[in-house]
């Protein structure tokens, strides 16, 4: 499989601040790669280096086997970028901005542009000032998707979209993937990454803390289990990999390291299963494991946490 993006041990400093600290990122052809990290972790800096807008201090960066700083113009013909905070020209309409961005990239498909405007319910005749944040993002998304490029780089592209538009966005990304395009999707909305991406890279304080397929990463985390058994389940507490064990009214609730799940389920089976609910580890938990130290230990242990306070 071809590597489209490769960043090895990349360092970028702003004066005394190290925005990227031996950062690594590999994106393969045809994949939707999730790029996760809390605010200020260095996601945007990494993306700006990939776009040749910033020059890295050391390490190796290549995009399509080219140097994004030196070959910026040639590479940009093959990729499109959706920034997280789209700033539009107040004197231009949204439609004009889409056209300018698309044509400067080397042309855009007017039919696709029109179809996307419809799907995203976007009015291209309004002036830049009058669009809401979500509508400004639609400009960048439509411009990027209407161009015939091989790589899409998106920096929290849906942070202003409503849930309906979010669904449209997910459909569009899936279609792009089916068309063979590569997508780097930076986000802190975990369920979106979970739905769309097969591989993720997690960045923290400028450093890659985890990278791999979702399955590989899930392996590293815990499954949440609730079991009612015929015989008392107190003994489960002693099993290797079992955490946060609570027994109440004959119902056992605990988390178990996913790679230690087998023996635990075997024991539950031998105790006689009345009811068993097992929830796969969510990306949220994975995420919490890496950023958890900023939260209280109690919150980290809580498997049901839906909102990640990063």
């Amino acid at each position: 499989m071809n590597q489209i993006i490769s960043m090895n041990d990349v360092v970028k400093t702003y004066g005394p601040v190290r925005a990227l600290d031996f950062f690594n990122l590999d994106v393969n052809e045809g994949e939707v790669h999730g790029f996760l990290g809390p605010n200020g972790a260095g996601k945007t800096t990494a993306i700006r280096i990939l776009l040749g807008l910033l020059r890295h201090d050391s390490g190796h960066v290549s995009v399509f086997d080219g140097d994004p700083w030196r070959d910026a113009v040639a590479l940009h013909r093959r990729m499109a970028y959706v920034p997280g905070d789209v700033s539009l020209w107040p004197e231009l309409t949204g439609g004009e901005a889409i056209d300018v961005l698309g044509r400067l990239r080397g042309g855009l498909d007017p039919k696709k542009r029109e179809r996307l405007c419809e799907r995203f319910d976007f009015d291209p005749t309004k002036k830049g000032r009058t669009y809401s944040k979500g509508n400004r993002q639609k400009v960048a998304i439509i411009a990027a998707m209407s161009s015939d490029v091989e790589l899409l780089i998106m920096d929290e592209p849906t942070s202003g979209l409503d849930p309906l538009m979010e669904v449209v966005f997910q459909q569009v990304i899936r279609e792009e993937k089916e068309a063979g395009k590569t997508v780097l999707l930076s986000s802190h909305i975990l369920y979106q990454v979970e739905i769309l991406c097969e591989r993720v890279t997690i960045i923290r304080q400028g450093h890659t803390v985890e990278s791999g397929t979702l399955d590989e990463l899930r392996h590293l985390t815990r499954t949440s289990v609730t079991a009612e058994t015929e015989q008392p389940a107190a003994g489960l507490k002693e099993f290797e990999g079992v955490h946060d064990f609570v027994l109440e009214n004959g119902r056992a609730q605990f988390n178990v390291d996913t790679d230690k799940l087998g023996p635990v389920i075997g024991e539950i089976h031998s105790l006689g299963i009345r009811n068993l609910v097992s929830q796969p580890p969510t990306l949220e938990q994975l995420f919490m494991r890496h950023y958890g130290e900023e939260l209280t230990a109690e919150e980290v242990a809580e498997p049901e946490t839906e909102e990640v306070a990063v």
Binding site: R48, G95, R103, G106, A140
Partner: protein, 532 residues
Amino acid sequence: MNEFKGTSTLIRFMLRRDRVRIPLWIAGIVGFVLLFAAAVPGIYPTEADRQARADLWDTPIANLMRGPGYGLDDYTFGVMIAAEIMLYIAIAAALMSIFLIVRHTRREEETGRLELIRSSVVGKYAQSTAAFTVVVLAHLVIAALLALLLPLVGEDLAFGGSLAFGIGIAVAGIVFAGVALVTAQLSEFGRTASSMAAVILAGAFLIRAVGDVQWHILSWFSPLAWPQEMRPFFDERWLPVLLGVVLTGLLVLGAFALNRVRDVAAGVVRPRPGPANASDSLSNPFGFAFRQLRGSLIGWSAGVIVLGATFGSTVGEISDWAAENPGLTELLEAFEGVTVLESFLGFLVMAMALITAGFAIPAALRARSEENEGHAESLLATALARSRWLGSYLLVALLGSAFVLLSGSAALGVLAAIDQNDGGLFLQIMGAALAYIPAIWILIGLAGLLFGALPRAIVVVWIAFLYAFVVGIFGDLLNLPSWMFSLSPYEHVPDLPGGEFTVLSVVLLTLVALALIVAGLISFGNRDLQSV
């Protein structure tokens, strides 16, 4: 009074935000006057020196460019300060008002910050009132400093005259604070609001220019004439203060009325829907830059054409004066080496070349605001090379500034040629304008170089312009040493009309400008794009 709630907090907030900016404005304005007051006794030590200066410049040219000149018969230092620089100090005070008012009102709305403020317990008029109060305070500080320091620094400067001088400057400044308060209500964009106020300022300059040369009553309709009509150091009159207070009151009430009827962030003029598709010309970087700067180009060209035509219509006055004062004319012509008319026209072309920088520098610096606002990031993430992107703004600035200066000069030339019945005069004026174009280009080149190499120091280009302006307008008066003249690109332009057109200096200036631009393009290609 609920509509004013929060004003005092906002005043403190604005003073905190501008704790460097406002003192710099004050120091700049007061400092220039004090420096001038301290310097003239050395340059014109005897009464005879001063009187020679007064006689030499008691012409319609001086009335046009410097004001009426009260008390020329006894040219004391005080009269000199009021006659020679007061008009320009009043313009500086007016510009300070325009920039500060728009910065704290419309710019705050445009960026969405005012929305946050207005969502708290803050009345509808609090923002405007606070901004106006801050600017009035700044002008009162300037007036107080001038009244107190001029008698100490200068020679023979009475307190009464110094006070009238300071108050006169404050009157002009505060009136234009009112003007800017109104224009900030009209447009959605800070840039447009400042431009509208600047156009009114230019109009005020022209009305008093015609008034001071021909129909004096006209000057009373221009707030820019009021400071000198106070006649500081001659026989102080205070009627202009009353006029200023009444006009400012009307402007502030007008601004409140407009504020009441419109929504937050909206202008009085509603935006209309635009085209859904971009035209072909918009889709290349030059066309894109041109589209953004088109309005400014049209505005400045129109302004300079009106200026040139107004100046051109006074040419008859100059030649009449020369015919009526043969002795003085001979003296002047011996002094300058060219005819009075030629020297007048040459000065006007230089003045228009200085004014053209008002288009050229912001046009070149548009690249900087595009970068700061995050627009450059979107465009440079496409297959657009950095040098083409920056080059487009600089090219629009280069061609646009040539267009602005030539259109103003053409208006001047046509009217001058008709008045003097001399078609050759038109060609001479156009030749003089052509010679000044490379000097403007050097400022554009400097802007390009700073943008590429030292973007944080971009304000240096404005300092360079200010330097060229002071040397060009006050250099002779202040008898500056020749090396100070040679630092200004405008002083390397051949003296036209009347002088000799030296191709070499024009070519050299152009080459320097091009070298600066190339250096700017290269250094921009080697730096990080600054993110929002």
